[in-house]
Symmetry: C2
Subunit: 431 residues, 2 copies
């Protein structure tokens, strides 16, 4: 993520694009052309996009260039995960069932981005219906490795400088895992913060729209547009109080993740952060199963009821299995998992007592070899079901030189404080 001395246009951050267009130094059309060039050069290896319409994007850019400043994202090319509706590009859900599908209307999030002057450059590859059946995307650092999922294309496109930022969605770990594997910043806000109208649901009590970008400024800028307010607290006042939370899944982490988390903790403590270990109550250990097996399968079997009724043969075996398990699940089992989530959420104030932010593992290690699996969502999913805001920062590298992220977890509904902590931490850990 080090800035090259002279950045190509496709390497500019959203914040830089907006400033330089406002200063008359560059045009939106030039930025889009730069991104399209990068895509042309790299897409045959990375496969980040389900659909790109170069003509449409260039036309949108020229319209912006002709008019006055439209908003906070004037001229910024953004990618949209292909489970989020777009009126002018197909929305194919990573499934043959939706091949060529054209929604009538933009999703709320897309409409808000466009109204602020963003250019929707393309639809990024998603796992089938934002689940676990991978698309063709490869990791830009090494095409033999997964980019993570299910926001695979969003992670790869942003990491490979094909565009400045992208929307993703997280039901288990689908924003933070590809962000960590691809080496960019991932942000899953507090559950519900970004409006979900026009999103195809996977499991609606977990589904959260999030962002992938290369700078914290960009994450804050785009967030402010989507919420219609300030994303980040101005300043923390003092060094953040950080809880080091290894989580009950610590033993599943590889050496590089353990090192990343502990090295980050040590360096932050040295930098004067108040840092203490925090242990989650024992029953939090059940959150992964509750989120990934119980709630995910049950709600999946409902949200996919229409496709299951008429097009079951076109659903992958992996997803079919989830749906069947969900359909056969006793309703009491589902309510039990919901109750565990509620109960753990209710005790979060105790967990966070005295802390501004938690530092936790984000992924087990470097992006695994192979493209069939997008990796394990455990370390991300336990926070998703808690509805807390979470961010992954690409602070470390693993034994093969691939990115390894750390995860920062904030207070529910206090995303502003998470942003301020993330900035403080990132300034001290970024290579």
């Amino acid at each position: 993520m080090a800035s090259p001395p002279t950045k190509a246009l496709n390497e500019l951050s959203a914040t830089e694009i907006v400033k330089r267009i406002a200063a008359g130094e560059i045009t939106a059309e030039q930025v889009v052309a730069g991104c399209l060039e990068r895509i042309a050069a790299r897409e045959s290896v990375v496969h980040a996009f389900a659909n790109v319409d170069a003509k449409l994007a260039l036309k949108a850019a020229r319209e912006l260039d002709r008019g006055p400043r439209r908003g906070a994202l004037h001229g910024v090319p953004i990618g949209i995960k292909d489970v989020i509706d777009t009126a002018d590009l197909p929305t194919e859900m990573g499934s043959p069932i939706y091949r060529g599908h054209r929604p009538t209307c933009d999703a709320a999030s897309v409409a808000l981005l466009r109204a602020a002057g963003a250019i929707i450059l393309g639809k990024t590859v998603t796992c089938e219906f934002a689940g676990m059946t991978a698309g063709p995307t490869t990791n830009p650092h090494n095409p033999a490795r997964t980019p993570g999922g299910s926001s695979s294309g969003s992670g790869a496109a942003v990491a490979d400088f094909m565009l400045a930022a992208a929307l993703g969605t997280q039901t288990g770990g689908s924003v933070l895992r590809p962000a960590a594997y691809c080496g960019v910043i991932g942000y899953k806000p507090t559950f519900g913060a970004f409006n979900r109208a026009g999103l195809k649901f996977a499991a609606e009590s977990l589904d959260t729209i999030g962002l992938l970008a290369r700078t914290l400024d960009d994450v804050a800028l785009i967030t402010s547009v989507l919420i219609g307010g300030k994303a980040a607290a101005a300043s923390l006042g003092a060094a953040p109080r950080i809880g080091l939370c290894r989580t009950p899944l610590w033993d599943t982490a590889q050496a590089e993740t353990k090192h990343a988390v502990e090295d980050a903790a040590a360096r932050l403590a040295k930098a004067a952060a108040a840092l203490r270990d925090v242990t989650l109550p024992a029953d939090f250990a059940g959150l992964k199963t509750a989120a990934r097996e119980t709630i995910n399968n049950y709600e999946r079997s409902k949200s996919m009821a229409a496709e299951w009724a008429s097009r079951a043969a076109e659903i992958s075996p992996k997803l079919s299995r989830c749906i069947k398990l969900g359909m056969e699940m006793p309703h009491e089992e589902y309510l039990g998992a919901i109750a565990l989530g509620e109960s753990c959420r209710a005790r979060l104030p105790d967990v966070f007592e005295g802390f501004d932010v938690l530092l936790a593992p984000c992924v087990q290690g470097e992006a695994p070899l192979g493209l069939d699996s997008t990796g394990d969502p455990g370390f991300q999913a336990i926070w998703t079901i808690l509805h807390v805001p979470a961010m992954s920062l690409p602070t470390h590298r693993g034994p093969n030189g691939l990115p390894v992220g750390i995860q920062l977890v904030g207070h529910r509904y206090d995303d502003q404080r998470l942003f301020a902590c993330a900035r403080w931490i990132w300034e001290r850990l970024a290579c």
Copy 2:
């Protein structure tokens, strides 16, 4: 709601339809034909439907008649509020923007009903985007009065024996209010219980799909299909412990509502229910404004971002005002309302301590005169934001002979107990 000695086919409950078709006494086609006849006779006055496709419904019925039993709702005609997607009927949202709009795919709830053998007889009139701008529907008891809203057509069609049951949605009071005004049973489950894939959002942290029907058996039957489990607890064991909760809005109730609630309380106490007054904590008084003004307007302004960007001129002045207020609202104000909802929900166990169910006012009084306003959502909205399950029972009549409902409110996620209490109470109060 008294059963006539020989019921016409359109007057049968869903439960009766299923039994009589299984017994070979009637066919699904006959039931649909009976409902269509009723619609033909009454629709010019009631205007309950946005779309009915008689041929399609009869064809579906004949297909069911030819095959084996498809499921728990084999042959039951159901209406779908016109903000819920249907693949074979337009979904017009009560808005010119969506005139003739054809979704690709059934909503999850619709697909689950169909898979169980239900026949989607038509789309019922909704207020514009499930808001407060009324459609053409009249109250079947008196066409000069509102049927309530926003599930106006669902309430009127069920009350007028045009079909057995209908789906509605409640963001403020849009299921229970039309149920009460039209004199049928309304059920808003615990938030999230019925899958919302394919529902057009109004305010997504409040929007709840619910049911309107004429019998408790029917509500339980359809619920069991939508959740894939048992709707009602087998039995309470003992008489229910009932909390009489006048709510901070009590003074806004008209005499007929005060009488209905207090008369119900007196008769239930005589019938051996343990009945005590319950007072909500003082800050619960802020829930109506939080739900109706703050959260509703903020989330509205996001969920309608696409329509607002491209078709604002076709949005009614009333809804435009909500959207504008939401767009201009400081984000902190929204978070404050969300925090109040969270805080009150967290204290519900104290409110419900020692009670199986709360008895509360449902509407201010009889359906008001005029069709411009669908009535005040206050008494319903304070429970909607609390995410608790609620049911309206048409137990009383007002000074003009129109229905007046009472409201029963259950423990969150314990809809089964609410059903059991409602049955106990209904058996003792039904005229």
